[in-house]
Symmetry: C2
């Protein structure tokens, strides 16, 4: 926390002390009064040379400790969060005709999604505030990452999921020993009930929009991208959008680096939602306030009809000079196949929505094929096998005989 100056309300601009239990601006309330962590960039610039990070042997998000809102002395869970690989898959770049396309595979985190970056911060903050129980609502990935990191840290969890959360994610929660509350309703219902329960029992609150520290964990994906590209900032960073916290985190990360002079430009952001649930894309494109939307998409991790961090997200996209786009579920399944076949990366639907959006924006000329673009794959496809099967079809069934095999392969023109 050496470098944390305090918290600033993104709505009224009021600056507040970073005190335990303070999640939102008391003046603006829990809906609008989202807080942003402020850093002493001059101090970081003076005391943390970039080469110190480059030479760090810590291949996790904690290589960026000077940019994180945690005490260096607080115990941390043992799980290795972050420093996920950044690939430039040759067959994918050829397929799209984009020679400078990179994939950041955040499905390689311990519980297989980008949300581990936020959850590891949450459990550390809970310990700093002497809390033993931590709670959240989530469409799934925030939940499983919280459950995993809390198990590693020895904390008790209550996790509120909407009834539709895929089995794979629920199984993870249960195996990690979480108390899982399956709310028979929408994500919004789950969020509201979790907020009431957190107030009732005084648990630590890991709801990402409400808790200002979690975006700070998420921003590490941007810090890594910059370092892995040798501080050559890409023209575009593409990421899927649900609550809005992840894209806000990406923007915060690049801003941090720009403020301390480790990078000399900022990327444009492309935020992608599913057309089955696109309140933020609609608000952005129509330049109006967002309105609640249906949650009608296979991309469950971004099926957020009532986003909790709309302002931070919309500002990030606007300030970056970027844009937003909605893609169909069919485009998402196409992107899942394309990514798998050309790169050996298996992304979940929300995880590959960014790639679908990029393809669309290159098609309509908003992004040029020769620009340097990073797509963040936010979660592993193993979390949602049903949709993968829908995307990929069925295997070739044969009896255990070579004759039967020859016949089946011939019929399909495969041999």
């Amino acid at each position: 926390m050496n470098n944390v100056l305090g918290l600033r309300c993104i709505h009224c601009g009021k600056e507040l002390e970073a005190a335990p239990g303070l999640y939102t601006c008391p003046m603006c309330g829990t809906r609008d009064g989202i807080l942003d962590v402020m850093y002493d960039y001059l101090n970081i610039k003076k005391n943390t040379p970039r080469r110190q990070v480059v030479h760090s042997q810590d291949y996790s998000i904690f290589r960026y400790l000077p940019f994180l809102p945690v005490e260096p002395s607080t115990p941390r869970p043992h799980l290795r969060v972050g420093w996920t690989p950044l690939y430039r898959p040759p067959a994918l770049t050829r397929n799209l005709g984009m020679p400078h396309l990179y994939i950041k595979d955040d499905g390689q985190n311990p519980t297989a999604s980008l949300k581990d970056r936020a959850s590891v911060i949450a459990v550390i903050k809970a310990v700093e505030e002497n809390m033993t129980t931590i709670a959240c609502s989530s469409t799934g990935n925030a939940a499983s990452s919280l459950a995993g990191n809390a198990a590693a840290m020895g904390l008790r969890t209550f996790i509120f999921v909407p009834g539709r959360a895929p089995q794979g994610k629920v199984a993870q929660l249960l195996i990690f020993g979480a108390n899982v509350i399956s709310v028979q309703g929408s994500y919004n219902d789950a969020f509201r009930l979790s907020a009431e329960a957190i107030e009732r029992w005084g648990w630590y609150n890991r709801n990402a929009a409400i808790n200002p520290y979690l975006v700070e964990g998420k921003k590490t994906v941007a810090l890594e991208i910059a370092e892995q590209m040798d501080w050559e900032v890409p023209d575009w960073v593409v990421v899927s959008v649900g609550d809005g916290c992840t894209i806000a985190g990406v923007w915060k990360g690049f801003q941090d680096l720009y403020q301390v002079g480790w990078i000399d430009k900022l990327p444009k952001l492309l935020g992608v939602q599913s057309s089955g649930c696109s309140p933020l894309v609609d608000a952005f494109l129509e330049n109006r306030a967002w309105r609640p939307a249906e949650e009608n998409t296979i991309a469950d991790s971004i099926a957020v009809g009532v986003p909790r961090n709309p302002e931070k997200a919309l500002r990030a996209v606007r300030d970056s000079g970027g844009t937003m786009v909605a893609v169909s579920d069919a485009d998402i399944l196409d992107a899942m196949r394309l990514l798998g076949r050309t790169s050996g990366i298996f992304g979940e639907p929300a995880g590959v929505a960014g790639l679908a959006g990029l393809k669309y924006m290159v098609g309509n000329g908003v992004i040029r094929a020769d620009e340097k673009v990073v797509v963040i794959v936010t979660g592993n496809g193993l979390k949602d096998v049903q949709n993968a099967i829908a995307a990929a079809g069925e295997p070739i069934k044969v009896e255990p005989s070579l004759d039967n095999l020859i016949e089946e392969l011939k019929r399909r023109g495969l041999a």
Copy 2:
């Protein structure tokens, strides 16, 4: 390949040149004539100081290139295979009363299992031999890892899986663009049909026992364990056993390091099978030749009734002074819960069988609780969600109302 001297038949001892297309000893046949790669350890010792590896910035299996049977100049797939985390989870060590217990989480590989270590070698060898199609049979993980690595490398794959392979693994294959042949029979049927097809069409053979180079990829898990423990070799390394190639690889890795003088002792190996399919444990404990067994266990990755690498596996355990044990499916589900709740690691049934076996051996005094032990978790639990749900139970279903929640938590004594 600079350091590869040739291949030696583990049955008759004959030494052969490492030539393309040579998989097994021509004298002893495909069943018995398993080959082992021989290295010029004196040359490695002379030209590769240990500190060169320690200072390598390559955090993948290729930091150990002098110990690998591939040409340094051959293109490699972009996926980051290996350098998986080695954890000492505090709550797990407390729970078992084993202060020096470590978990090597190989579910953190790109396609979520240890098999990536073998498959990445397979696709490189295929390219070195100018092959464009590669095939294997597998209970699942070898297959999905081959499909992923082949997609990354631009190779075509034919993959033979038994009808019972879990959906998650099959979905991975299909997304990676593999031609998946679902053989309506046992693993043995799938293996036989793949061998016939490989001969018929001349595809590159990734069947692990048959292809001598694959064990060389698997051995990197041992190289990493040694380096991550600062070259202090553990007393025991525990791993689940199916075909026998993984435990043979672990042994080969430690032998390599011992030969070049980077470590000064060897660990004992504990090999674990499910009691529903334990041909190698039975052979070991009764000191007799192995006999085919039923495949009757939830741990599908080690449900191998006709193991293809029995001799290398049994010798590894014997030579190490270690032992073997079979555990029930109930013990495996217990271990899955224990590992999840105490460490935030979600292992598949075969992946946690080692932990179940360790618990048993500590209980009966064969392994002392104060010994230094590494358990290798060989695959991620997301690959097999059904069994995780069987292990972990169901979530607490509530209507979206605080009153209903209070009532449900009270009823369970949770609040």
